[in-house]
Structures are given as C-alpha cells and as structure tokens.
C-alpha cells in the first residue's frame, strides 16, 4: 500500500475530487487491474480489491439508467419538491446518482443527459458541513 501520503489535493479524497469538479472536470478512479470505474475515485477497487487505482477524466455524457421523482423530500430540500433524480450511466462506464433538470414526465430510461456543475445554493450552504462549503453540486441536463 502506498496511500500513507494521501492529502486533500489527491482526487482519491473527496476534497480533491470536488476541487476538480468545481473546475468542471469529472474525475473517476479506474482500476488498473480490472478496469472498474469508481465515482468518486477512492484508494481501492470495490470490484476486485486492487489498490492500483488510476485517476482519469470521465466523459460528462451519459444515459438515464433509472429515475424517479421525490415528493417527500428531506426537510432541507422541501422547497425544491417535487424534483427528478436519476442513476446515470456515463459514457466511460461509471454510474452516478444525481438530480435531473427536467420534469419526471419528460424523462425515460435511455435518455441522453450531460453532467453539469453549479455552486451550492444558500439553502444547501446552510446544511453543509464546514468542509463541504466549497463543494459544487452536479446536475444532469437533458441533451
């Protein structure tokens, strides 16, 4: 193992991943042994256990794998409801959950979407932990 020197600039940590995402770059871990994509990157591959994880830019383009609409949100997101969320399969093979900037009725499995990034809203800032304040929020836009 060689991760003893991990620090917050490393994309295999959450601060490192979100720093890159704030600049518009979606980074994934890619297992050097089995090819599994890890979103966000992390020190070990869940598919095979290898710790040989490379960090590579991922395409922001993908397709809706599954989706729903939240009618009973957590209290902090009450003003947003109802809103659409989805699991998206990205072009490079990773899967990521996120909000979709479209009405539920206008979404279906297989729809093309693109990951975009925005700053957290004032409400999101209120519930953020101290170390999360600069972390951007990703949203999938229909293509």
């Amino acid at each position: 193992m060689t991760d003893g020197d991990l620090d917050a600039t490393d994309p295999r940590t959450l601060p490192g991943f979100f720093d890159a995402l704030a600049d518009g770059e979606l980074l994934g871990g890619v297992c050097a042994d089995c090819g599994q994509v890890l979103l966000p990157p992390r020190p070990a591959c869940y598919a095979c256990g290898s710790r040989a994880v490379d960090v590579e830019p991922q395409s922001p383009e993908g397709q809706i794998f599954s989706y729903t609409e939240v009618h009973t949100p957590p209290p902090a997101f009450a003003a947003d409801a109802p809103y659409t969320v989805a699991v998206v399969e990205l072009a490079d093979g990773g899967r990521l959950l996120g909000r979709v900037a479209a009405d539920y009725a206008d979404v279906t499995i297989g729809d093309a979407v693109e990951l975009t990034v925005r700053e957290p809203t004032a409400t999101e800032q209120e519930i953020a932990l101290d170390y999360e304040h600069d972390w951007p929020v990703h949203v999938f836009e229909p293509r």
Partner: protein, 389 residues
C-alpha cells in the same frame, strides 16, 4: 460447539406509541421473560439494534438497556447497520453462544421513529445514504427504492399492479397478526390510487414509520431445555456488505442478499427448497420481488409473483410462503427492531404459536434483513424446528 437456539421472544406494541425507546424495550423484555427467571439470573451479554440517535438524541443504547433490564457489569453494546441493525444484533448473540463465550445473550432492537414526525424520520433515514453524492442530491429512502422499482419494471414483465398485489397479500397476512401495526385487509385499487411518494412507488407500496422494540433470548439448546422453553435452532447465519451507493450496484440482482442467504443455507446444510416460510425485508413492495429472487425462491424476473399461491407461480419457484407476519409493509418497520421482529415471527411459526396465521407444517424459515438501501448490508438467518434439526 454449543448449538445456539432462540429460547424466548417478546415485542412492544408497534406504531405510534406514547412510550420512549427504553420503555418500549421494557415492554418487549417483559413479554420475553414472562415465564422465565429475571434477566439478571440468565443473561450474560446484550446487543441492541438501533438505527439512529437523531430520534431521541441518545447513543449508549447498550448500556442503557442493560441497565433497564437489571443487568450490571455485562458486555453491552449498540449495533448499527440502519435497518439491518436488529439482525446484526441477533447474529452477534448467535456467534457468542456458538463459540462458547456465553450461554445466554439478549439480542434486542428499538426505534422511536415518531419522535419528530415524517420529516424527522425522512432526515434520519437519509443518513444511511452516501453523504458526498447521494445525500447532497436530495435522495430519500422511498426514492432510492423507486430507482430499483423503475429498473425492475423495465427489465421484467412485472407491473405496478403486481407490486400492489404484494402489498395486498401482506396486509391480508397482517390482518391475522395481533402484533401488526396495520392489521387490516386492503384492495389493489387502494394501493394503485394512493398518493405518489416516488414513482412508480405510491404510499401503499411503502412500509410505515412507527415505534417498536423487540427482544430475542439466544441460549444454548441445553439451557433452553433447562428453562423448559420451546426452542428454535439458529442453524445458519450469513452477512454481506455491498457498495453504499445504489448507482454502483446491480440494481435488480441483489447480490449481497444472495450471498447472505446462500451463506446461511450452507451453514445450515439445507437446500433452498427446504425453506417453508421467509420473512424478507419488504420495506417497499418491490423488495419482496427482488429478495424472492436473491434468496433463490424464484427464477430471475419472476419474484413479483410472491403474492400468488405456489401452484400458480412460474416454473422454478419453490413453495415458500413469504412474509406471513404481514412483513415490514403491514406488520410494521421500527427500524432497529425489524430484524428481531422477523425472528419473533419465525419463532412463533415454528413453535406452533402463530395462531390464525400459522403456515401448516412449517419447519424451516429464512430471515433476510437489509440496511441502507437494499443490500448495502444484508443479514440472513436460517431457523429450524428442533425436529428438523
């Protein structure tokens, strides 16, 4: 090695109650020890399944409940694994007895979910999801399971009406269960016309929020006999963690549940066809379909037929009866207690104490208890009658 058995069970009322968590526990413990010596005369260790400190601003539940049971200076700890906490507590108790460390261990679970309304429960449950990506996207328990349901309906012949019929079946079972939170029959239209929560899931696809506690006494077979208690053998136990994020898992092949069940079968030395009854984690209707497949009861894509009589299901189905208690859906789902309520149902079924809902000739039961979303963590147990053992 000593043979671990369940020697006694008890539960509090389930649903909206006026009792805090520790008092719910006292009620459950009182039932379990009604015909036994005091806990202090028997119990050597305590495990408490408990989901969240946010309901009562209380951790240290191991210490607290040991004290409330009159047990001092015994090992006692809270076990955390969201809704699988109860079965994890049971598993720890079983292992302690099997490895000879203790002769009698109390596995219990408690949750005071109604302390801060629906929004409080929604918020507390959301802590089970990955903070970095899932929580910050505003996902909830129903919407996570809706993602599984949407995918299941996409990949199989199942319809929303099939999922509704699972809810109808489980309410029918609960109508014969005096412990159930919702002991009443419902019809398909009631489910299909209920309010959307996270499409395709509607209100009546979802297990309720509710309070509850359960207590299960695990002992050696010898001690249970000395206590003159009906005993049910814990023949197998398995557990498996999978990724915390739903997106990174197979959303229709619930691998963690499959591994937990297969591990329990192997340890018990049984084939899946031997299972007569199963209490599975039907927090949402689609879960019963998915878990019927993961447990090996149903061929892939046919688990939704769990509501049908065995003779009318697809080829390859076993004759198992699912959720005779009414399941999480209608019996109730006080998170940390749920895995132990499953064990309680199996104990009553296998000792001839299930009354009107008894499944005829039931000798072997599978319990599947999940935490997080679906198989983020799954615990499986095989319980058998002394005769089958």
């Amino acid at each position: 090695m000593p043979e671990p058995v369940i020697a006694s069970v008890g539960a509090s009322p389930l649903g909206r109650t006026d009792l805090p968590g520790r008092d719910l526990f006292s009620v459950a413990l009182g039932e379990a020890f009604d015909e036994l010596p005091d806990p202090a005369d028997i119990v050597e260790a305590v495990y408490v399944g408990n989901q969240s400190e946010s309901y009562e601003h209380q951790i240290m539940y191991g210490t607290l409940l040991a004290e409330w049971a009159g047990l001092r200076h015994v090992p006692a700890e809270r076990v955390e694994g969201c809704a699988a906490a109860g079965a994890l507590a049971l598993r720890h108790a079983v292992k302690d007895v099997r490895n000879g460390e203790h002769e009698a261990v109390l596995a219990c679970g408690v949750e005071k979910m109604t302390s801060a309304g629906t929004s409080g429960a929604t918020d507390a449950l959301s802590a089970a999801f990955d903070r970095a990506i899932e929580q910050r996207s505003g996902i909830t328990a129903p919407s996570q399971y809706a993602l599984l349901a949407q995918r299941y309906l996409h990949e199989t012949d199942a319809t929303e009406r099939d999922l509704a019929k699972i809810a109808v079946k489980n309410h029918g079972n609960a109508a014969r269960n005096p412990r159930a939170q919702f002991p009443k029959e419902i019809d398909v239209a009631t489910v299909l016309e209920s309010d959307p929560v996270a499409p395709p899931l509607k209100l009546y696809d979802c297990a309720p929020v509710g309070d509850g506690a359960a207590a299960v006494l695990v002992t050696t077979a010898e001690l249970a006999a000395d206590l003159d208690q009906p005993q049910v053998h814990v023949a197998g136990s398995g557990a498996s963690a999978n990724n915390i994020a739903v997106a990174e898992r197979d959303m229709t092949d619930i691998a963690g549940a499959r591994i937990a069940a297969e591990t329990a079968y192997e340890e018990a030395g049984i084939d899946v066809a031997a299972v007569d009854i199963a209490e599975v984690h039907d927090a949402f209707t689609v879960c019963e379909a998915l878990l019927a497949e993961a447990a090996g009861f149903a061929p892939a894509g046919t688990g939704y037929q769990s509501y049908q009589p065995p003779a009318e299901r697809a080829d390859g189905w076993t004759d198992v009866q699912l959720s005779p208690s009414g399941g999480l859906k209608a019996r109730g789902h006080p998170i940390g207690a749920t895995g132990l309520l499953q064990a309680l149902e199996a104990y009553e079924q296998l000792t001839g104490a299930a009354g009107d809902r008894a499944v005829e000739d039931a000798e072997t039961a599978l319990l599947l208890n999940e935490g997080g979303v679906a198989d983020a963590v799954t615990v499986g147990h095989v319980l058998t009658t002394a005769e089958a053992q």
